[in-house]
Symmetry: C3
Subunit: 264 residues, 3 copies
């Protein structure tokens, strides 16, 4: 049995209010496909995104940021140095950080990089079921960036990964499952049409990095980000004609969530 959490839970609404009040500086090294969308998601939810990627700059920046995201979606050899430096500097400066191991498993180059990044102690690891299962060695991985498994099937793997790494592990899917190795929390909501919007999972990882700047603990940050994202996604999907309108509406709903004073 897992506990279910939604954005109306007290701790989530409190963290969201705090996020909007303080706009945590959220440093992202993410992939080329989703950079703009991720920045827009962070702005919509209330954070202050900063896509600083130069190896010469990431250490200084990760040290002053309130949260860091490292996403290996389109990583090239030119990026690996910057990613390792950013993660190491984040740890040294006690900046909490999120690792998004996109498509880890079948591709050796990024799988080795993810192995090295794990040594820098991420606060949260967010992935789909195939990626989480690949990290615990119990699956050959997914199909490109897509999962071939259901999020529920990865709960035990997620617990194992959390225990092994000390990170909170979040498995995205129809229900998001989040665990610190002991407690397992389910966050329902979202919408299947979100799988037709590129970068919705990647952007969720960025929102987790923003919540790390305000939440009491990584478990709360992962839950808060998932719950807010799921609620906005659900609302946007109810109005959308298709995936184009959904991506636009997701930004609008992230901005509007819990602000009844904003009239339609």
């Amino acid at each position: 049995m897992t506990l279910e959490r939604t954005w109306t839970d007290d701790s989530v609404t409190k963290d969201l209010a705090q996020l909007r009040a303080t706009s945590p500086l959220t440093h992202c090294l993410t992939n080329l496909v989703v950079t703009g969308f991720t920045a827009n998601v962070l702005l919509a939810v209330g954070a202050s995104p900063a896509m600083v990627i130069a190896a010469e700059e990431v250490e200084d920046f990760a040290a002053v940021a309130e949260g860091l995201l490292v996403n290996v979606g389109t990583v090239t050899s030119a990026d690996t140095d910057a990613m390792n430096r950013a993660a190491r500097a984040a740890r040294a400066a006690r900046t909490p950080w999120v690792l998004d191991p996109v498509a880890v498993g079948p591709l050796r180059f990024r799988t080795e990089l993810v192995g090295r990044l794990l040594e820098h102690g991420p606060s949260i690891i967010r992935g789909n079921a195939s990626e989480i299962l690949a990290l615990v060695g119990s699956s050959g991985g997914g199909r490109g960036a897509d999962s071939t498994s259901d999020s529920r099937e990865a709960i035990e793997g997620a617990r194992e990964l959390a225990t092994r790494t000390g990170a909170v592990v979040a498995v995205s899917g129809a229900v998001d499952y989040i665990t610190d190795g002991e407690e397992v929390v389910g966050v329902p909501g979202g919408h299947v049409l979100l799988t037709k919007v590129t970068g919705s999972g990647c952007a969720l990882g960025a929102v987790m990095a923003a919540f790390l700047g305000v939440s009491h603990a990584p478990l709360d940050a992962a839950i808060g980000a998932s719950a807010v994202f799921a609620a906005a996604g659900e609302r946007a999907a109810a109005k959308a004609q298709g995936p184009g309108g959904l991506a636009v509406g997701l930004l609008d709903e992230l901005y509007r969530l819990g602000r009844p004073e904003l009239v339609a």
Copy 2:
């Protein structure tokens, strides 16, 4: 005289249904301007996009993908190795692939790269009239990424290029012309406002790569992709207030095309 084809043709609707049923893994090495939009177009039409770009990864990935796109729009020297590797691996693994020679002609660096890529036997070459004419040496090329010629003027050049390379050649314009060197097929539709949406041509090339994963032959893939794209573009343009809404609506209409069960 050219034959006209639209998305309601039997072979096109069959290929579209097959594409949605099987979600062909479509590997894209494309330009920085359009990466996110291209992924969203592929998801909307029903394919599974994968923007894997590292030289260390492209060979393995191109070999398992169902179709590959190489688009040189913002190519730098760091990308050329990955593009050549991907194209070579695609050919070796019999993964069909699309070459989009953006702005070839006036710029020597990319023109030489395109020359090398052509040696790896693309299944389809997609470009605007200026680009196709530049490839057969009968024009100095366009103006940046824009064509200075009408697609009709490039029909003979396209036939010559197809004969010379063995590829199907698709010339985008008010009417798209597609040829295997013998047959010339015209695909009407689309809308002039699409020229105000960046990457609409580039995304069409990606859709051709997706159709290569399901169609009987490259000629069918190029026609199917063009016909579906033109129909969605036309529908989206009929509702749009401008180019912003058109880009959003294009994604919605690609998703909705031929699905009457999706209510407005």
Copy 3:
């Protein structure tokens, strides 16, 4: 006292009409977050964007372009050579160019690059208050890409920077202030919600580069671009439900501005 200008001023409407009639080729070396949005903004306003970034190509291209933008938002060491070459070639070919010194000040790597770029004589420097103040050495800079100062507080710094460099300096904010070192012009309009759309400032810099291709002088280009952008932003904000719809509507309104024949 500063003079106020809006898009309905004669010189602005004339330049906008000229821009739409001639589609100036606008060469952009900009950051990864905003590349696609910038191209769409340029297309919507009527320019012809070209995102050519290879060191091997930028010199030839900057020489034939009608305006150039160099934006250092996500600059890496691999980009600095191309940026310096482009700026140098632009100056040699008398192509006017815009420098957008994103997040200059606290980060040494980009601050040194901006110093070198300034030697190539930009026609316009566009930034937020923190960036402009950092360039005159009177502030420690902002918070990532965000300003921690009001645009009004940077007017004197902007005058000093204009006098020192010979460039027109544009400070973006609730009111944009633009100066050639003597005259100071204020452009009101826009909307605070635009600060939740990533790249709106960066895209404004690109529109200035496009106006440089048609305006009589850099001061007119900066004013014209700001006035048109502010008017479109204000109209889009009046209809938007949030930042997602605002970004889409901004493109629509840039396209529609001053075209009463386009029905709603």
